[in-house]
């Protein structure tokens, strides 16, 4: 079927006014194609790096060819079809979905049709002429979509033969929460033995660095995935891979999540990145390698920052009239007491102060919170809240209270 349409096509017999309008567009093909290519680059939900030229060439060629066809000129399809097959091939090779190409074609078609329609209004084109133009454009786009499908199929076939591409796709599938069946299939295509559990790491690199896959063991999968670089490996290899990461990028910070089943990789990836964010917020100590398991509570409690802040403002309302220093001291003491339920001397030893200071603080806490401290639900919420928040406040982040005071005046 494609063989037929790649031949020189006859003029579609457009009305004269439409032909005249198309002719007037000939000189504007390049700027319009550039605009469309730019909008595709900005609007598509995937990286188009190294791909812009091909998109521009395809759009530019398609517009010129369409005008030639409309003007009844001899216009072979060969070059245009080839461009669009290449686009389909490349998208498949990148491990992206076919839907991305369809989205791109729809965006481009919609923008070009807008251009034609505006021009038609300016030239007072008749409705019949505009309909004819629309039909011609629809059939033309349909033809191009078929070329993309052909290219995408070829690209998919080639991609499945390519280990690196298959592994890149495997990472994408795992991070996007694909089913275990699909992950297993992609793992086998990428020649990667899927363990029962995997370790997910988030590597925070400086100045847009990347760590090449060949810098790590063959059992490790890695790819740049904002905001960090992801590394997935069997749990047994995690230590060795961590050392390799440190050797490849000594200034990088690695957040190592505890082993999870492959279908939980998206969550593990989120946790590992949250741990890095908490390091930057000074909630977690800034070590080169962050063992997420040791900070599981903090990672969990900071999952909902807005809820945490609202809870802080609600539960700790009695403290809002206190100075920042007093708030920090009292909450720190309250947290240790809630965690240990120890005597004043024991808490004093933990905090490095005199036992009488603890008794004083405890009296102040009781004055401020009163009977609430006998409510088990309040105490449980308070413990979790303080566990999450005290490190933030101690690190100097008083935004929870500042925001509340701004709201209440």
């Amino acid at each position: 079927m494609e063989h037929d349409v790649t031949q020189t096509q006859q003029s579609p017999g457009l009305p004269g006014s439409a032909v005249w309008m198309l002719k007037s567009l000939e000189g504007e093909v390049r700027p319009v194609a550039l605009s469309v290519a730019r909008h595709l680059r900005d609007g598509l939900p995937a990286e188009t790096e190294g791909f812009e030229e091909l998109i521009f060439t395809a759009v530019h060629g398609a517009m010129s060819h369409f005008i030639d066809l409309g003007l009844g000129r001899a216009a072979p399809y060969t070059a245009i079809d080839d461009h669009f097959r290449k686009v389909g091939f490349k998208v498949a090779a990148m491990g992206q979905d076919r839907a991305l190409v369809d989205l791109g074609i729809n965006m481009a078609t919609s923008e070009l049709w807008d251009v034609l329609r505006r021009r038609a209004v300016e030239n007072e084109l008749s409705a019949a002429a505009l309909n004819a133009l629309n039909e011609m454009m629809s059939s033309y786009v349909e033809h191009l979509a078929k070329q993309v499908t052909t290219g995408f199929g070829a690209g998919t076939e080639a991609r499945d033969q390519d280990n690196d591409v298959a592994r890149a796709r495997l990472i994408e599938r795992m991070l996007s929460g694909a089913s275990l069946d699909e992950i297993e299939m992609q793992a086998s295509l990428g020649d990667w033995t899927l363990p029962e559990k995997v370790t997910v790491m988030a590597v925070e690199l400086r100045d847009g660095d990347r760590i090449a896959a060949d810098a790590l063991s063959p059992t490790a999968l890695t790819r740049r995935r904002d905001p960090t670089q992801v590394v997935i490996c069997p749990p047994d290899d995690a230590e060795a891979v961590t050392k390799e990461l440190r050797a490849a990028a000594p200034k990088a910070r690695v957040s190592v999540c505890w082993p999870v089943p492959p279908e939980d990789v998206p969550a593990a990836w989120r946790w590992a990145n949250r741990a890095l964010a908490l390091v930057n917020a000074r909630v977690i100590p800034a070590k080169p390698v962050i063992d997420c398991l040791a900070y599981r509570t903090e990672i969990w409690l900071h999952a909902e920052p807005v809820m945490r802040r609202q809870l802080a403002q609600e539960l700790l309302e009695p403290l809002l009239a206190e100075s920042a220093n007093s708030r920090e001291i009292l909450t720190e003491t309250l947290l240790v007491w809630l965690e240990t339920r120890e005597s004043a001397p024991a808490i004093a030893a933990v905090l490095g102060v005199h036992p009488q200071t603890i008794r004083y603080r405890w009296k102040r806490i009781n004055e401020l919170f009163g009977e609430s401290l006998r409510d088990p639900e309040f105490v449980t919420q308070l413990l979790l809240l303080l566990k999450a928040s005290v490190p933030l406040w101690v690190a100097g982040d008083q935004s929870d209270f500042d925001r509340y005071q701004q709201q209440t005046g």
Binding site: I329, V353, Q356, T357, K363
Partner: protein
């Protein structure tokens, strides 16, 4: 016979001369046991004549230290907190008042300590901001208690009051009464307020007192007393009183302290010790007198025996020795009696 008389006369003369020194020896020995470290020879006679003693507040009727006489938290539950935070902060400060407050608690972790002249001290104890000083400085009402009233503020809130006063010697009033009974009039001079000085004088039974008295005023006070025909002793351990000490008839200072060379030195200026000094001095004077009276008596007896033809050289020697013994015993008994009397 002539030789026997010469021996007797020589014994009497020697006993007369030595008899004057023996009471001083006994008094010095007894005095050391009672904390009277050194008394220059001429000072004994002056001390025996003293009828007025000017007592500096520090170390005489008081121990020289101050103590917290009252701890009054605004909320009774904060009693221990008041003691702890104020005490911990004052460990960083200097002076009698700071030491008195510091004794309320052990040392703590204090940061950002600073002295605010004329107001008090401030700092952070275990990261809690604390201020101790004049009540008005920490936003509290001034009070009129005896002693020094301090306001304590914790975490920006008033916590309570501390009152610091002089630590009176336990036997101050009985010692003062003994002095008065011995004919010595005590006069209290103090660098404290009139109210506090009056209170202190009343507490130990002193009728005459002078508050906030500067060194030059103290000197004038001593001169006035001397003009009234009094023999004035001045007891002080303060260096600023050096001029006053010079003007007084008798200077009494502490061992190792700054005082003039002819000053009597005591271990402390405890008023009971001053009483002992004056009693011993009077004993020395009496002992000297009695010793000199007793010294020739054995010689006279010996001379009578010689005149009756009962004498011999060994007997003359024995009576000469007896002169020395009788002078010594008479002097010693007078000194010891004076000391015993002073205890009553």
């Amino acid at each position: 016979m002539v030789l026997q008389l010469i021996i007797l006369v020589a014994g009497a003369v020697v006993a007369y001369v030595l008899g004057a020194g023996f009471p001083r020896l006994v008094a010095s020995r007894v005095g050391r046991r009672h904390g009277i470290t050194s008394v220059p020879r001429p000072a004994w006679a002056v001390a025996a004549r003293v009828d007025t003693v000017v007592l500096d507040r520090w170390g005489t009727v008081t121990t020289g230290r101050q103590k917290v006489t009252s701890v009054e938290p605004l909320d009774p539950d904060h009693l221990r907190n008041l003691r702890w935070f104020a005490g911990a902060l004052e460990h960083e400060a200097e002076g009698r008042l700071a030491r008195a407050v510091a004794r309320l608690s052990p040392r703590g972790k204090v940061a950002d300590f600073a002295v605010v002249p004329g107001s008090g001290v401030k700092g952070a104890v275990d990261r809690h901001p604390v201020r101790v000083g004049r009540p008005s400085w920490v936003g509290m009402t001034e009070r009129t208690d005896h002693g020094t009233v301090l306001g304590v503020e914790l975490d920006g809130r008033p916590l309570g009051y501390l009152v610091v006063g002089d630590e009176l010697r336990e036997d101050a009033s009985t010692s003062v009464a003994a002095l008065v009974a011995a004919g010595v009039t005590p006069v209290l001079v103090s660098d404290d307020t009139a109210r506090n000085t009056e209170h202190l004088a009343g507490a130990c039974g002193i009728e005459r007192w002078h508050p906030e008295i500067a060194p030059e005023k103290r000197e004038r006070l001593v001169a006035e007393l001397q003009e009234q025909g009094r023999t004035v002793a001045f007891a002080s351990s303060r260096e600023v009183d050096a001029g006053v000490v010079t003007a007084a008839d008798l200077a009494v200072g502490v061992a190792g302290g700054a005082a003039r060379d002819d000053a009597v030195r005591l271990e402390t200026l405890d008023v009971s010790r001053l009483g002992a000094l004056f009693a011993l001095a009077r004993g020395v004077v009496a002992g000297t007198r009695w010793g000199r009276l007793a010294a020739p008596v054995p010689a006279v007896v010996g001379a009578l025996l010689v005149a009756l033809g009962l004498g011999s050289l060994p007997l003359a020697g024995a009576f000469a020795l007896l002169c020395l013994i009788s002078a010594s015993v008479a002097g010693a008994v007078a000194v010891l009696r004076a000391r015993n009397l002073s205890r009553t």
